[in-house]
Symmetry: C2
Subunit: 353 residues, 2 copies
């Protein structure tokens, strides 16, 4: 039986072994590696992004958008994804919900000694698949190794750069806006928990991990009759779930949000297992969803666009923005009773991303 | 005695405890947190960088430069610096050696449960001090916590964005160029090793960790009589040391490099302890040095500029670029014998950055 290749400390030493790891496992598995005159292939100290002068000239207020996300998800392979996919999607989705077209990403990997090189290749393939789907290059990276006793699994940081004419802010909600969620909630956290704990039930549940830029891009062009952007605020509800995203948007915008239990898209299986485990699906992480505030007259148009994309086909209007109770989120149950949706205080499922 | 505050898993949960960690420990300790309309204070999904249109209009080929560096240095506090300082300097110096003015950085922290919050504050202060020194804002960040059994110490990723009209490449060396190193080599690795192993000798040795942009910026303006940039190639010799940087530059530029042992700036204490431990100072990491290729007629002017900056006061011309032995680096000893300086194959001092 062939001995499985493992990462050794020398793979992080900055010499020949590191060059071969980077060359064989990382470089050759990425399809797009350049956004300017110096790309990943150059293995220089960084990489460049050419500025699109047509875009800049047409958009007087063009701004770059930068985001960073480190991923420590455990287990690293789970139904519907792996740490590579979730790392790329996490960063890209942060740009997307700010209304920014992704230009390029960087990768920073920390790999424990003894980590399987086969697993590393699988992870790298997933990163590449997600990047290819949205046409974004990985242009620069860094690889560190640590002793196997120092770290239990691979950690991946993705930083991403995008560009927009005006960012979509968390604080942009206006009274009367409709609140939309782009599909079933809590799938990622529950799929991960099911896999991690080896539960028998829901073993077919899959994470929703997905890169959302192509779903979100057309929404940004929708305008009110007054010529204003229909989308007023947007977040991707990862750690802390929809509950955390809604509270942040309500607080930052200084408005109230009212949502309706009957309108929340929750899979039967997710709902049942949350009940059984005493978890609130509103607090469970998603990795392929957006929570969107939209001017009321454009809500149907935005919903239609969302539903026309595979990642948004189960999108729903779940509530609206109110003048009352600024900074608070209120849930109206199917029977008409109301409760505050609080900012989550604990971590129902740790290491979810 | 007051109980020392420790990081708990809830600090990474994306809820109230995380907000307070970010607010109390991170946000309030950074001086510059904005580079555009959305800064760190907004705690949005990312942050924006306003594009300097005057710069863009004056530089037809303006490109962004992106770099990323994860830091796993151990111990996290060492003479002359700590993981926070080395993380910021590592990323900034990668931009600087590409000739890019830093615009903004992001921070991605992974913190093990049980990590001292006092230590976290010290690290954050060091990050801020280095950023303030060069006037660069930290505009966005991400914080993850993992079980104390999963990771032995804090890990910090810094991604950085800069801008330049034309990047300085590793591959730009030309026959006849002079090779300059900006000061004493191997201080960082040897200071770290001394501290880690508790050696009695050299206990006053300090890491050279420093942000080099202000030292490098004036060099970029030096031009030959033909109006070409005097600096042809540049690297910061971190892991793998000067040996690795010179080999990369020689290989990528397809030229030979000849360096002279007697001209290498090495502290007596570093030289002696390297001899004693069987280490080659050329292979030991630096965190505040640049290796620079310069057109010969401008070498003295560049050296003079370097020497006028505190971080470059011990700069020296160490050799030149040759036509013979392309891709190879040759060391000429004080007695006139020659040997190849190879690409380092092992890791003399692991977890050095």
């Amino acid at each position: 039986m062939a001995k499985e290749n493992k990462i050794s400390m020398e793979h992080g030493a900055g010499g020949q072994q590191m060059q071969s790891l980077i060359g064989e496992i990382i470089l050759k598995n990425f399809t797009n590696t350049s956004a300017g005159s110096v790309g990943l292939d150059a293995l220089d100290d960084g990489a460049t992004i050419e500025l699109d002068r047509d875009f800049l000239n047409n958009n007087k207020k063009a701004e770059l958008v930068m985001t960073t996300d480190s991923h420590v998800v455990k287990p690293i392979f789970f139904p519907g994804g792996d740490i590579g996919k979730v790392a790329v999607c996490g960063a890209i989705n942060d740009l997307a919900v700010m209304g920014a077209r992704p230009l390029a990403v960087s990768s920073g990997m920390i790999i424990p000694e003894g980590f399987s090189i086969t697993d590393l290749e699988k992870v790298v393939h997933s990163m590449n698949d997600a990047l290819v789907e949205i046409g974004v290059p990985l242009i620069t990276g860094d690889t560190k190794t640590v002793e196997g006793t120092a770290l239990d699994s691979i950690i991946i940081n993705i930083a991403a750069i995008g560009i927009c004419d005006a960012p979509v802010r968390d604080c942009g909600l206006q009274i009367g806006d409709k609140m939309i969620v782009s599909g079933y909630i809590a799938d990622h956290g529950m799929a991960l928990l099911t896999k991690r704990e080896g539960f028998e039930f829901n073993s077919d549940l899959e994470s929703d991990t997905a890169p959302l830029w192509k779903m979100i891009e057309p929404l940004l062009a929708v305008q009110t009759q007054a010529g204003e952007r229909a989308v007023t605020a947007m977040k991707d509800p990862t750690r802390g779930g929809v509950a955390d995203s809604l509270n942040e948007m309500a607080q930052k915008s200084n408005v109230g949000i009212r949502i309706y239990e009957e309108k929340l898209p929750i899979r039967e299986a997710v709902f049942t297992s949350c009940e059984m485990l005493g978890l609130d699906p509103l607090e469970i992480a998603n990795e392929g969803k957006a929570v969107i505030g939209v001017r009321p007259e454009c809500a149907k148009a935005v919903l239609k666009l969302l539903k026309s994309h595979p990642y948004g086909k189960d999108a729903a209007i779940i509530g609206e923005v109110t003048e009352e109770k600024p900074g608070k989120v209120i849930l109206i149950s199917e029977l008409g009773s109301t409760r505050y949706v609080d900012v989550p205080t604990g971590d129902p499922i740790p290491r979810v991303c």
